[in-house]
Amino acid sequence: MTLALLILLPFLAAIGLAFVPKENEGTPRVIALLTTFFGLLLGVKLFWQFDAAQTGYQFVTTIPGLGAEALGIHCRLGVDGLNVGLLLMGAIVAFAATCVARDIGERAKEFYLLLLTMTGGILGAFASLDLFYFYFFHELALIPTFIMIGVWGRGEDKNYATFKITMYLSLGALIALFGLIALYLQMPAGQRTFDIPAMTQYFAGQRMAAQAQQLIFPALMFGFGILVSLWPFHTWAPLGYGAAPTATAMLHAGVLKKFGLYGLIRVAVPLMPDGAKQWLGVLALLCLGNILYCGLVAMRQKDLNLLIGNSSVAHMGFVFLGIASLNLIGVTGAVVIMVAHGLLAAVSFALSGYIYQQARTLEISRMGGLLQQVPFVGMALTMAMLAGCGLPGFANFVGESMVFFGAWKTFPVVTALACWGALVIGAVYMLRAVRNILHGPLVDDWKDLRDLSNLWRRLPFAVLLFTLLLFGFFPRLLTDKIRASAEVIVNMANGGMPGNRAANQAGHSNTTGLAGEPSQDQRSLSLHPGPIAVELWTFSGVLNRNPNLTLTQKALGSETLGFGAGELHRLDSMAVPPGGEGAKGASHESVSRTVAFTPFQRSTAESAHKQPKGCGPHSFRFKDRGHGSQAADVSHEPIPSPYPPQQPDSTADNTDYADKNSSPSAKSAKSVVKELVQGFNGRDAAENPLPEGEGQSEGERGSEQSGRASPLEDRSFGE
């Protein structure tokens, strides 16, 4: 109900607005403010009530009447760790954007109507569990963007910017659509579904042909990438944001842009692990284009909005890097940045919009000394700029540092360069802007600028900055909610799979070889995406210190994904009974531990989630998941994980191992444990005749389906 209201309310309000008579000039703004404020409350409620301990979707709702039964399209909404933060952020930004939209003079009613439509579309796209609506809602939000820039935009380049942003985003959406359709067609005729969890489950069991993955994945990667201004398809972004009205820039740069990233994480990576492995190396290289190149470009900008636009493009690079790292830390970090950057972009554009409204220009060289004249705006802008260059205390720092920690294993050189981009280049252009705009003697032209003195008008800025600081100070409020879902995605993307055997073995033979030289098998595999990609891929192989990562991760089991090849020695401790070195606290007894530092933690399940002393984190999380699928028979509100818990079984810890000995899935667990002890001689066909993914998932799927029947029945709308 909460979720459905959150999505539908803006649409209903937009429809209502259409009937407001023209004479009532103030009404549209009041309606829009009330709607988005209520949406903000709903977003907070959703975030608050979201149970971090559950891996599956929560708040699952089907909106009746929207959908086509015959085509298998349902308007099904749900929340998991990946989108709960985004929904909250979207609701906050929507409210803030409505607040600052008072600078819209003419045709205010139409503007608010479009703004509300955009809001509903964005939130709907994030919440949709149906592939059709996932795409549909995004388009629904995109089209108002174009109209708003075209009609209410500013600057000389307005028309060209509208044209460009429309062409680019339509093209990106179109390419992504091709990819999504191709994905849909990969399912056999009888089993086709638009339901994302069902699709995910299907492809987890029935691995898509590697050939197909290598063609479909890039379509999604570049299609979604264009939507997120992936280098070199980024030039629409600064230009478009420069020309857009403030509220539109806030909503698009802050929220709607994240759709592409969300699509990559939600659909592309987990459904096409082989394609991901082939192409994420390329993505890691392209992200340097965002981080370094666009950072350098930002240094040269003469207009504040273009600077913020370019820096926003640069920040997307960190998210790409996090996704490309394909491990729990990196992907969680990527989601954190998505949330943080949404708030940051919103507050930055809101501030630049305010300055523009006052000064009618954003030319940096003409500014100077504004901090004396407009202390509140100046301080907020300083904070936004500092958050933008990754200062601790703001959520951006948490996300960026997590991405660095995650990506360091896989792409050390790229990570080092990204660090340079984050710490040095980012600081150079941000501080230069602060110096030129806010510091120095006050320029005479700006003697009559007015500051935001009214508390009410300060509210949107305060809310955005407060949220950034809150998540920056207490990152576990966010990461604890993201983690479980990110783990599922990462497990799927790294799980043992029949199609990936060749690559894995190739990687394995490389273990002792030179890291820089991709073996013959790898090269032959990478021939599909075309000659340019091969070049890039070979290059990324050079940068990539651990080409055998996939094997390691597979052998280690999904639970230890964060560990790369360098961590092989840790296996000893995993093979011995728990209580050894695995536990973190064991190494320094003198430490007196106190409880978790999450002041707003509501659920006590979290305390259960804390690892018991002397027991590795791996065994524990597995058990948790195991209970989840068993408990699926008992109907309870949140549906269990739609993903078959395939890999965790293979890392069964020794205590569970004995109980599981007789169950069918224990077979694979047994073989993996044996392998661990033998020191990874690879999983030979002789030892494990059934390919890992199939054998296990078949058994799992049976139990999963039987367990799934009752809880998956949707709580229909209005319940």
Partner: protein, 615 residues
């Protein structure tokens, strides 16, 4: 450990003060100052109380809360309590408290007092965070936050272009160092799987070769952080410019505490540097030595009272880093402690002079201040002598330990010893020059005639800081550090004592000969080019301007050009243009003329037929 909550309170009180000032009392200077001063003084009292109850080594060394926990990345927010951190707590809250009180007098007439105290409290919070951090990421977080507060406070008078530029320069130079530091942290985490200092130490004791061939690189990357924060060569250029901030800020941040954080960090992670296959320490020793010498040379030819002290700080920081480099962290920390006392005192004394001279900072416009400002003069003199290393003042003991440490056979080097003694001589020389020119001799400008002693709120902190500056050698500080960081050598090396005393005497003699009653500096004539170079800081700023900064500018220009003309121009507009051209071309075929259509129809039919049948 009893009263576990106290360290948390000490840490967060200043943050609460900063937040309270920012949110509520920005328009009330008294209340703002009260909040800020109250927070730090209370922190000092609580620290004393905590040490009295728990002694220097509390039973459980750490109190921990989980800050971030995602898979293998487990980051605590923890407080580590041992002699090292407790002593630093005392320094930061004690010296800091004196400076806070002094600030109230010094800044009283400024209209941004509330903002100033908010900045000071934010700084205190960040600095205490560095001191108490129990893991690398937490250290890094506070590391960045002290950078921020330094940025805010250097640029306190942001309307001055020079202050705005200096604050930006300080932040960016620090960021360069932090870049290496972060890579070092990533490397360490990659190797050990943890960021906690004690866990890493345990791991390293078990397996000293854990880092393998990366030991040197890891050590040097971590050292990068200290190079930035403690302003070591080649990133030393920001510190002298940082003097654009208010003088108490220079005393607190750029003399006593923040710049010493690099040295503190090196001592905290000394176990990572002192590894069998690591050569990091050698590099560290030489960087420290070079910094000490360079800065001392530059200091001899500066005329701005604060800049002389700034270069002196650089030089002394070089000493401390040198001590770490010769595997003697305990003397380094000892010197850090005594230096915090007397250098803060020197800066506050300089502030008192500047205050009396109405913001005149050129020592060649002072003179004869001895009689007009007796309290300032005597405390300044004592601090200068302590800095020179005259026995039995505190500086003598700490500096002597460092000079003696350069003589240890395994890590020391005769060249380093000579270097250290030379720096001691130069130190005495430039400090004597400063005191002789500013306080003795004839009055060199009219400003002196109107100068008078500062109010009590400023002189009492001077007196309070003079006590530990004089007596710092007798409190057992060295033993305290030695106990935790390991006694590197015992007793004072006779050679070291003789050499350093000789250096003091010669330095004093040179200075007396040149500057007794001097009206202008005779040195430039005698030294010529060297003096010129020293006065221009050996042209480092110009060098960086021409190389590093230029390079990045050019790269940015190229990227911007490429973006505008190639990506957005040739490719995007090109695709656009090509499509349009194609469309225009097609339009030519749509003539509306029936004969043309008929002709095209026949032509195509012929072509099709040719391919189907004709061949």
């Amino acid at each position: 450990m009893k009263l576990q909550v106290l360290p948390w309170l000490i840490l967060f009180l200043p943050l609460l003060a900063a937040a309270g000032i920012t949110l509520f009392t920005l328009n009330n200077r008294e209340r703002s100052a009260g909040l800020s001063i109250g927070a730090i003084v209370l922190g000092f009292v609580l620290t004393l109380f905590f040490i009295a109850v728990n002694d220097w080594e509390p039973a459980g060394k750490e109190t921990v809360a989980s800050w971030l926990e995602v898979g293998p990345l487990q980051v605590d927010f923890g407080l580590r309590l041992d002699p090292l951190s407790l002593m630093m707590l005392l320094i930061v809250t004690g010296v800091g408290g004196a400076i806070h009180i002094y600030s109230y007098g010094y800044m009283h007439e400024d209209r941004g007092v509330a903002r100033y105290f908010a900045g000071l409290s934010l700084f205190t919070f960040s600095m205490l965070g560095i001191v108490l951090a129990n893991n690398f990421l937490q250290l890094f977080i506070f590391w960045e936050l002290v950078g921020l507060s330094s940025y805010v406070l250097i640029g306190f008078w942001f309307e001055r272009p020079s202050a705005a530029a200096a604050s930006k320069k300080a932040f960016l130079t620090n960021r360069l160092g932090d870049f290496g530091f972060l890579l070092g942290i990533l490397l360490v985490w990659d190797t050990f799987g943890t960021l906690n200092f004690s866990s890493i130490q345990v791991e390293l004791i078990r397996n000293p070769a854990a880092l393998g061939s990366l030991a040197t690189i890891a050590g040097l990357l971590i050292f990068c952080g200290a190079v930035g924060k403690s302003a070591q060569f080649p990133l030393h250029v920001w510190l002298p410019d940082a003097m654009e901030g208010p003088t108490p800020v220079s005393a607190l941040i750029h003399a006593a505490t923040m710049v010493a954080a690099g040295v503190y960090m090196l001592c905290r992670v000394f176990f990572l540097l002192d590894l069998p296959d690591s050569h990091a320490l050698e590099v560290i020793a030489w960087i420290g030595g070079i910094t000490a010498l360079l800065a001392a040379l530059i200091a001899t030819q500066q005329n701005d009272i604060k800049r002389i002290l700034a270069y002196s700080t650089l030089s002394q920081l070089g000493y401390m880093v040198l001590a770490v480099g010769v595997a003697s962290p305990a003397p380094a920390m000892y010197h850090l402690t005594t230096h915090a006392f007397f250098k803060a005192l020197l800066f506050l004394g300089a502030g008192s002079v500047i205050h009396a001279m109405h913001h005149e900072q050129d020592i060649w416009k002072m003179g004869a201040l001895r009689r007009r400002m007796p309290v300032t003069f005597w405390t300044f003199l004592l601090a200068s002598l302590a800095l020179c290393g005259l026995p039995p003042l505190s500086g003598f003991f700490s500096k002597d330990e460092i000079i003696a440490a350069t003589l240890t056979p395994e890590h020391g080097h005769p060249a380093l010893f000579v270097l250290a003694v030379m720096v001691a001589l130069l130190t005495t020389f430039y400090m004597s020059r400063l005191v002789l020119v500013a306080f003795f001799g004839p009055a060199k400008s009219h400003g002196v005639d109107h100068a008078h002693e500062s109010p009590k709120v400023m002189t009492v902190p001077l007196l309070a800081l003079a006590v530990p500056s004089v007596l710092g050698g007798f409190f057992g500080i060295a033993e305290l550090y030695g106990h935790q960081l390991g006694e590197t050598h015992s007793g004072y090396h006779v050679l070291a004592v003789v050499a350093s005393l000789g250096a003091v005497i010669f330095g004093l003699a040179f200075a007396l000969g040149l500057y007794w009653n001097a009206a202008q500096d005779p040195l430039p004539e005698k030294l010529g080019a060297l003096a010129q170079a020293a006065r221009n800081r050996f042209y480092f700023d110009e060098l960086y301007e021409a190389t590093v900064i230029k390079f990045q500018e050019i790269a940015a220009a190229i990227a911007a050009w490429f973006d505008e003309w190639i990506v957005a121009g040739l490719l995007v507009r090109g695709a656009h243009g090509a499509t349009e051209l194609f469309g225009r071309g097609l339009r030519l075929a749509q003539t509306g003329n029936l004969q043309t259509y008929a002709f095209l129809f026949v032509l195509s039919a012929a072509v099709v037929l040719y391919f189907m049948i004709g061949r």
